[in-house]
């Protein structure tokens, strides 16, 4: 008896030890399909290297050690670390309050904490900026962007806290550990991958953010890359800065792997999700409520309030309002197919890394995260360069734009898919194969259906990002096609804020749907089915 307890406590206290994943041959079709995303990702990397080479070694060195480059490097670092840290703190506190405490109105707070996802950063920045100049600059940018990006931490973390098997916590408590020690030793290690994954998304966003920072007058590597392309047509120094930015992304890309460790999360039986005891807030109730309310005012009240204000006023309102229909159609007709393409392209890469096992496969799976921090502009220019030289017939068709979307947003699909794919035990496929199915059929009938929850989250998250994508769309969309995001951008560029407001509002509204789906999928991946069959759980002892 005591042995069993000891073993359970060990399981509870630490992530499971590394277990060599036997390489199960993936169906060759999937391995071949994984070459598509790898080739796509290679495009911008090769492009940046070719263009950097134009600068020559001395040019590259001179560019790297300019005073200005150091300033950009510093600003980029401060912004990325501060926003990521703040988003972790806010998102972490919000997740704990809504999932583990007895905060009143948790269901409502949960929805409110997700809603900032629907607000594009450049719309929020414009809203803040129109209050007064003090919100410009690095400090303002850190505040505004933290407020708009903390849901990226909150959501996965809340989902992890919620779906965590309560058994190890109960074991820890029954062994005499206090709530704090249990939280630190049992809950935190298991929540880290979710929080870390969200934080890395935030960091990658900060590295590639352009619109918001441009409005707030903050100069980072990405805004400098835009400026360089604005200044000069054929720009080697922009390419050198892009290469630097990719180096910046490397730790972000591989950080997630480090956070995850080699922990194995799949299991054959389904854990029970039972009600767990809530932490009583007691005298902390009011501070907790005040914190939640403040976050909502800053992240939602101010941007939505200003948007409403601009909707109401201004003589420029009404100009181009008839363009809302075509722009809405433009957004949907690009974002929806783009989402499907991106998700399909990402799938084989996830499977390859998870099942192929090899080092090369795992590095290949990380490459999209390196490119994710690149501004859309660079990816778009790479595709212009490549498609004109290699496939002029597809230039300025949607096909090229979808390729750009896939390159830019594959990691979002990968993270969501990976979360589901990890839960699928390869042994299940083995069982199917011992029962006489071929590799591909076993995969299609066993593994693929189990990916569906992750698929929903992946589709929603990618759709959300594609709806607001700006720079690649501007360069690659077929001539004459406008989207809500490009309309907002070009109208605010002309100073016509009141005219931009209806487009921005429409953008926020249609973003609501993917946010809803994503939220639901993340917080409640199994849907109603979760409620069934308590208590059937089989602790794995290996």
């Amino acid at each position: 008896m005591s042995d069993t307890f000891g073993e359970l406590a060990e399981i509870a206290a630490a992530p499971r030890p590394r277990r060599a994943r036997r390489t199960r041959a993936l169906p060759p079709a999937i391995v071949a399909a994984a070459l598509v995303p790898i080739a796509l990702i290679a495009l911008p990397i090769v492009y940046v290297l070719i263009r950097s080479a134009d600068a020559g070694w001395s040019g590259i060195v001179a560019e790297l050690f300019r005073e200005r480059t150091l300033m950009l490097f510093w600003n980029t670092s401060v912004l990325t670390f501060s926003v990521t840290g703040l988003a972790l703190a806010i998102g972490g506190a919000a997740a704990w309050l809504t999932e583990r405490s007895d905060l009143p109105g948790r269901a409502l707070w949960r929805v409110l904490f997700c809603l900032p996802l629907a607000m594009p950063a450049f719309v929020a920045s414009f809203a803040w900026k129109s209050i007064g100049p003090s919100f410009q600059g690095l400090g303002g940018a850190i505040l505004i962007l933290s407020m708009e990006s903390f849901p990226l931490v909150f959501l996965p973390l809340a989902a992890a806290l919620r779906s965590m098997d309560p058994a190890p916590e109960e074991v820890s408590r029954s062994l005499g550990q206090g709530p704090r020690a249990t939280f630190m030793k049992v809950v935190l290690p298991r929540a880290l991958p979710a929080a870390g994954g969200g934080a890395l998304l935030v960091a990658a966003h900060m590295l590639s953010e352009f619109g918001a920072l441009s409005l707030l007058r903050v100069q980072t590597l990405t805004t400098a890359i835009f400026q360089q392309y604005e200044l000069q047509f054929d720009n080697a120094s922009a390419a050198v800065l892009s290469a630097m930015l990719m180096l910046f992304c490397l730790p972000v890309a591989f950080g997630e792997i480090y956070l995850r460790g080699a922990e194995r999360r799949d299991k054959v039986g389904r854990s029970a999700v039972r009600r767990r005891r809530e932490q009583r807030l007691g005298s902390w109730m009011w501070p907790a409520l005040a914190f939640s309310a403040l976050v909502c005012v800053l992240a939602l009240g101010v941007p939505f309030g200003r948007l409403g204000y601009w909707l109401m006023r201004g003589v420029s309102a009404g100009r181009g309002i008839e363009a809302i229909g075509p722009a809405l159609w433009g957004s949907l007709s690009l974002a929806l197919p783009g989402t499907i393409v991106t998700t399909i392209v990402a799938l084989p890469l996830v499977l390859l890394a998870l099942r192929g096992g090899g080092r090369i496969a795992r590095i290949a799976e990380r490459l999209p995260y390196v490119v994710h921090g690149l501004p859309g502009l660079v990816v778009a220019l790479a595709l212009v360069y490549a498609s004109i030289r290699l496939l002029p017939a597809v230039y300025q068709t949607r096909a090229v734009l979808f390729a750009a979307y896939a390159i830019l947003f594959m990691p979002l699909a990968q993270s969501a898919l990976r979360a589901s794919a990890e839960l699928v035990s390869p042994e299940m496929e083995d069982v199917a194969r011992t029962l006489g199915r071929g590799a591909l059929r076993a995969f299609v009938s066993v593994t693929l259906p189990a990916l569906a929850p992750g698929l929903g989250a992946a589709l929603a998250l990618v759709a959300l990002e594609l709806m607001r994508e700006l720079t690649a769309t501007l360069i690659l969309a077929p001539t004459g096609v406008a989207t809500l995001a490009t309309e907002v951008w070009s109208l605010t560029g002309d100073g016509a804020y009141a005219a931009a407001a209806p487009f921005a509002a429409a953008l926020v509204l249609i973003s609501g749907l993917p946010v809803y789906v994503f939220t639901l999928r993340t917080l409640d991946p199994g849907g109603r089915a979760r409620k069934g069959t308590p208590g059937k759980r089989r602790p794995r002892t290996g």
Binding site: G320, I340, I388, G493
Partner: protein, 345 residues
Amino acid sequence: MYPLSRRALLKGAAFGGAALAAAPAFLAASRPARAADGPLALYNGQHRPPVEALIAAFTAATGIEVAVRHGSSAQLASQLMEEGAHSPADVFWSEESPSLFALAEKGLLAPLSAETLSAVPAEYSAKDGTWIGATARCRVVVYNKADVDPATLPASVLDFATEAYADKVAFAPASGAFQQQIMAVMILKGRETALAWLKGLRQYGRVYNSDSAAVEAVESGDIPIALSNNYYWQALAREIGEADVQSAIHNIGHGDPGTLITVSGGGVLKSAKNAEAAQRFVGFMVSEEGQKAIVAAIAEYPLRPGVTSPFPLTPFGELDPAPVTPNQLGDAEAALALLREAELA
């Protein structure tokens, strides 16, 4: 594992399948216009209101449809260079002459008809007749009326780069018009003076990302003075209402580079599939009807003689601008080198 979901998967598969089936249709529908009967493809770097007004008038007059790709002039010019002979574009309308100049240098623009070229004074168009200036804009000083007495403003734009104006002057190094102003300073006062001016602005001025952002900052009281283009202020005054506007325009004049005429104009791509319609479009830009449509939508000066702007502009003849032509400004590449040397880019 989730009990799911075979049904959900089937739904998803059906959806994905439908999307894939639709993909070829999308591709077919989105082929760039290559046939001569497709709409005229315009790459537009100019502000949208005048372009949309001109297109409406052009389509009404000729029946020719126009498909527009909006972007910044420099970015579209670089895209056109990358596209080369494969470009789907017929016409390029640039906010700034340097982008047109650069395309002409690369041999990508076709000569315009003599009739089109004769519509505006020759000094505002390409020497080789490959692009034409349609409207003129003016570099100005915008100041906040509460903070600045215009009588105390200096006699030269060079004086703003001094300690007396520390943290008082907004400027936008990424702005194409600002780069043309650098060129003008360089042409009129020499390279060393221009570099010292930029270094002074970097030390004492405040960098904004665009001319319009700088003007808005002055209007909101963020900073007292901005170097900008005239029409940003007029657009703001129209948006806010003349009576409520907190800022005003100051023209330095007397040939100082602080008052510089820059032009917005157009050219026809050599690779244009709709070459004839493209020539008609550029001709229409400088026709009486076209010029009226443009200047009703943006506070720029019509370059065709006899057309007047409905905006309350300082009369063109009274500006007394810097004696520098768009052809002298060239592709403004020297300005970029200076900006880099001054660590502003």
